[in-house]
C-alpha cells in the first residue's frame, strides 16, 4: 500500500505547498500582495488591494507629515538654520518624474485596450524614467557634496538629505514594482479583464506611482521654501 492511501493529504498541506512555490516576490515598498490567480482558491476583491494601497499611502503620508512637523519645529527652535540652495538638476528630475506619471497612464490605457506593445513599451519607459529620477537625485547629492554640504552641515541640509532619501527609497520600491510588472507583462496581458489580478496590480502600482509623484512635488516646495 502506498503511503498516499494511508494518509489523505490535508487541505492545509496542499495550500502550504502552493504558498511556498515561486511567488515572484519583490513587491518591495508597495503595499499590494502579488495577485496571482493560480495561488488563490478564493478571490480577494480588487477593492481590497486598493484599500490596502490607500492605507499604505496614509502611513506614508503620516511619515512625511512627521518629518515636516519636525522640520518646522527644528527651524523655529534655534537660529542656526541656513537655507540650502537646491541643485539645479532637481528641476530636470522633477520634469522626468512628472513625465513618468503620464507615461504610466499611457501604459494603463494600453492594457485597458489590450494593446500589448503599447502597454509594455510605456511601462518600460516609465520604469526607465523612474530610474533616471533616482539617478538624478544621486547627482543632486553629489553636487551638494561638491559644494561641501553634507548631512550634518546644517539642519536644512539634514532635512534635504533625509527627505530626498526617504522619497527616493519609496520610489525605488515603485521602480521595483514596475520591473516586476514588466517581468509578468505577458501574463497580465493574457488575463486583463476588469477585476483580473494583473490589472489590479497595474492599477494599484499606478496609484502608488502617482502618489510618489505628488509627494515629490510637495517635498520640492517644502525644500524650496525659505522659512
Amino acid at each position: 500500500m502506498s503511503p498516499e492511501v494511508l494518509t489523505p493529504v490535508r487541505p492545509e498541506e496542499v495550500a502550504l505547498d502552493k504558498g511556498s512555490g515561486p511567488s515572484g516576490g519583490g513587491d518591495g515598498g508597495f503595499g499590494g500582495d502579488s495577485p496571482d490567480p493560480s495561488e488563490r482558491a478564493w478571490s480577494v476583491p480588487a477593492r481590497a488591494y486598493r484599500t490596502g494601497m490607500y492605507m499604505a499611502l496614509a502611513a506614508i503620508t503620516m511619515l512625511f507629515a512627521a518629518f515636516t512637523s519636525a522640520m518646522v519645529v527644528r527651524h523655529g527652535v534655534s537660529n542656526d538654520w541656513a537655507h540650502t540652495t537646491l541643485p539645479r538638476v532637481l528641476w530636470l528630475n522633477t520634469a522626468v518624474l512628472l513625465a513618468s506619471s503620464a507615461t504610466l497612464e499611457l501604459a494603463k490605457r494600453g492594457l485597458w485596450s489590450n494593446e500589448s506593445r503599447r502597454f509594455i513599451v510605456w511601462l518600460d519607459v516609465t520604469a526607465a524614467l523612474g530610474a533616471t529620477f533616482i539617478a538624478g537625485q544621486l547627482v543632486a547629492w553629489k553636487q551638494l557634496a561638491a559644494r561641501g554640504v553634507y548631512l550634518a552641515t546644517n539642519p536644512s541640509s539634514s532635512f534635504f538629505y533625509l527627505l530626498t532619501a526617504a522619497h527616493g527609497l519609496h520610489l525605488l520600491g515603485g521602480v521595483i514594482a514596475l520591473l516586476y510588472l514588466l517581468l509578468r507583462a505577458r501574463r497580465i496581458l493574457a488575463h486583463s479583464g476588469s477585476g483580473a489580478p494583473g490589472r489590479t496590480a497595474v492599477e494599484v502600482t499606478a496609484i502608488y506611482w502617482h502618489f510618489m509623484d505628488a509627494l515629490w512635488v510637495y517635498i520640492l516646495i517644502l525644500l524650496m521654501t525659505r522659512m
Binding site: S23, A59, M62, L63, R74, V77, L151
Partner: protein, 498 residues
C-alpha cells in the same frame, strides 16, 4: 514589553486568527504580507534581544528613550552605546512590521466581510481590531520618522534633538540647535495612541466574552462602537498629557488636559455598558468570563487613577512617580493581559479543537487577579509618598530608604513572585490541554459569531468553500420565543419564528 507583547499579541495574535473567521473570510486579505509582517517583527525582536550579548550592554533609556540621553552615545553611560542604536533599529523594524500588519487588518475588515455583515453587525472584537489597526497605521509611521531622526543624531552627526552647549563628563558634545522636546512630541504622538493599541483589543474581547457568557445582548452596542471610535480619535489629541512638567508651554498643557478628561468619558461609557450587560443576565462563570470580569475591575481601578494624572496641577507631584506606574500597569498592562487571557481561554477550543482545563484556569485566574492587585495597588501609596519611578536602588535617597516604604516594596515583590508563579499553571494548562484536553465541540460556549459555525480547529480556508451569509446582529442571546438562548449570526430569519 510595550512593543513586542502589548502591541503584537492582542492585535496580531488574536486578530489574525479570529478576525477572518468572524467576518466570514477565508483568510486575511494579504496572507503573504501578513507573513512578511510577522517575520519583520521577528527580526526586530531578534535585534532587540541581541543587545543583551554585546559589550556595550542592553539599552538603558527606557521605552520612551528621551534624548539627549538616548542620542549622545556611550558618553552618557553604560547602555547608551551600541545597545541604544540597536534599540532604535529594532523599533524601526518593528514599526514596519506593524504598519504592514495594520493595513492588512483594515483592508480585510473593510473589503472581505461576508454578505449581510454590515459594519454595525460586526462583533465588537472586529471593531476593536479595526480601530486599533487604524491607530497603528497612523501612529507607527510617526514613531518610525522619530526613530530615523534619532538614529541620524546618533550616527549621522545631525542635531535634530541635541541642543548646543552640552557637556557630558566634562567633554563638549559636538552638536547644536536641536530640541529634546521635539522628540517628546513625536514620541507621544505615537505613544498615546499606542496605549490604546494595547487596550482596545482587550476591550473588544471583554465585550464579546461578557455578552456571550451573560447570555444577553451587549448593552448599547452602538454606544460601544462610538466609544471606541472616539477613544481612537481623541487618542491622537492628548499626547501632551505625558508632558505637563516637561517644559512644554503651560497653556497647551491646559488644552491637553481638557481633551484628556474628554477621553475619559467614552471609557466610562464602556465600563457602564459592561456592567449593564451583566445586570439582568445569566452569568456563566467559566474562565474566559472570569478574566473578562477581572478586566472590568482592573479597568475601573486603572481608569480612575487617570483622572488624577490628567490634571496638570496634580501632575506637579504625581508625574513620573509610582502613581503613574500603578495607573498604566493597571489599565494598559494588566488589564490588557487579562484581555489576552480571556481571549486565550475563549478561543483555545476553536484553535486547537480541545478544551482547556477549567479548574486550572480558575486557579490561574484567582492567583493572577489577587496577585495583580497585590503588585500594583501599593504603588499608588508609594506614588503619593513621592516615590519617583525608574530607580534601580533605594539607597540613594533618604526618604525612600526607610521601612515605611520598603515594607510596601516587600509586599509588592512577594505578590509579583506569586503572580509569576501562577503563570506556570497557565503554561502547564496550555500544553496539557493541547495534548490531552477533552475534544471541543463546534460551539462549546454557545456563542453566536461565525467562528463557532466552523469545525474546531477550523479548516485551512475557515469555511471549506462555504460562503456564509449574515442575517443578524452579533449578540442575539436570550431572544424571547427562540428555541435556544442564542441565535447564530448566520441563522436565517425563520429561525426566530420556530
Amino acid at each position: 514589553m510595550v512593543f513586542f507583547v502589548l502591541t503584537t499579541v492582542p492585535q496580531s495574535g488574536f486578530g489574525n486568527f479570529a478576525l477572518p473567521i468572524q467576518i466570514g473570510a477565508e483568510d486575511m486579505a494579504f496572507p503573504r504580507l501578513n507573513m512578511l509582517s510577522f517575520w519583520t517583527t521577528f527580526v526586530g525582536m531578534a535585534v532587540l534581544l541581541s543587545t543583551f550579548f554585546i559589550s556595550d550592554g542592553p539599552p538603558l533609556s527606557g521605552w520612551t528613550s528621551y534624548p539627549p540621553l538616548s542620542a549622545i552615545g556611550k558618553a552618557t553611560g553604560p547602555g547608551e552605546g551600541l545597545g541604544q542604536t540597536l534599540w532604535i533599529v529594532s523599533i524601526a523594524i518593528f514599526c514596519v512590521g506593524s504598519l504592514l500588519g495594520s493595513l492588512n487588518f483594515i483592508a480585510t475588515t473593510l473589503d472581505l466581510r461576508a454578505r449581510g455583515l454590515s459594519l454595525m453587525r460586526l462583533p465588537l472584537t472586529c471593531w476593536a481590531w479595526f480601530i486599533t489597526a487604524v491607530l497603528m497605521l497612523l501612529s507607527f509611521a510617526v514613531l518610525f520618522a522619530a526613530g530615523v531622526l534619532l538614529l541620524l543624531d546618533r550616527v549621522g552627526g545631525t542635531s535634530f534633538f541635541i541642543p548646543a552647549g552640552l557637556v557630558v563628563n566634562d567633554q563638549m558634545v559636538n552638536h547644536a540647535g536641536g530640541s529634546p522636546l521635539l522628540w517628546q512630541h513625536l514620541f507621544w504622538f505615537f505613544g498615546h495612541p499606542e496605549v490604546y493599541v494595547a487596550i482596545l483589543p482587550g476591550m473588544g474581547i471583554t465585550s464579546h466574552v461578557i455578552s456571550t457568557f451573560s447570555r444577553k445582548p451587549i448593552f448599547g452596542y452602538k454606544a460601544m462602537v462610538y466609544a471606541m471610535c472616539s477613544i481612537g480619535f481623541l487618542g491622537f489629541m492628548v499626547w501632551g498629557h505625558h508632558m505637563f512638567v516637561s517644559g512644554m508651554s503651560p497653556y497647551s498643557a491646559f488644552a491637553f488636559s481638557v481633551l484628556t478628561m474628554a477621553i475619559a468619558v467614552p471609557s466610562a461609557i464602556k465600563t457602564f455598558n459592561w456592567i449593564g450587560t451583566m445586570i439582568g443576565g445569566k452569568l456563566r462563570l467559566a474562565t474566559p468570563m472570569l478574566f473578562a470580569i477581572g478586566f472590568v475591575s482592573l479597568f475601573i481601578t486603572g481608569g480612575l487613577s487617570g483622572i488624577f494624572l490628567g490634571q496638570p496641577a496634580l501632575d506637579l507631584t504625581l508625574h513620573d512617580s509610582y502613581f503613574v506606574i500603578a495607573h498604566f500597569h493597571m489599565v494598559m498592562g494588566v488589564a490588557a493581559i487579562f484581555g489576552m487571557f480571556a481571549g486565550t481561554y475563549f478561543w483555545f477550543p476553536k484553535a486547537t479543537g480541545r478544551m482547556m482545563n477549567e479548574a486550572l484556569g480558575k486557579a490561574h485566574f484567582w492567583l493572577t487577579f489577587v496577585g495583580a492587585y497585590g503588585i500594583f495597588m501599593p504603588m499608588h501609596y508609594l506614588g503619593l509618598e513621592g516615590h519617583p519611578r525608574r530607580f534601580s536602588a533605594l539607597t540613594g535617597v533618604d526618604f525612600l530608604n526607610s521601612p515605611h516604604l520598603i515594607h510596601l516594596h516587600e509586599f509588592m515583590t512577594v505578590s509579583a513572585f506569586v503572580t509569576a508563579g501562577a503563570q506556570l499553571i497557565f503554561l502547564y494548562n496550555l500544553v496539557y490541554s493541547w495534548l490531552r484536553g477533552p475534544k471541543a465541540s463546534v460551539n462549546p460556549w454557545e456563542a453566536t459569531t461565525l467562528e463557532w459555525t466552523v469545525p474546531s480547529p477550523p479548516p485551512f480556508d475557515n469555511f471549506a468553500g462555504r460562503h456564509p451569509v449574515i442575517h443578524r446582529y452579533p449578540y442575539e442571546f436570550s431572544v424571547p420565543g427562540a428555541a435556544s438562548d442564542y441565535i447564530m449570526q448566520d441563522a436565517p430569519e425563520e429561525t426566530k419564528a420556530k
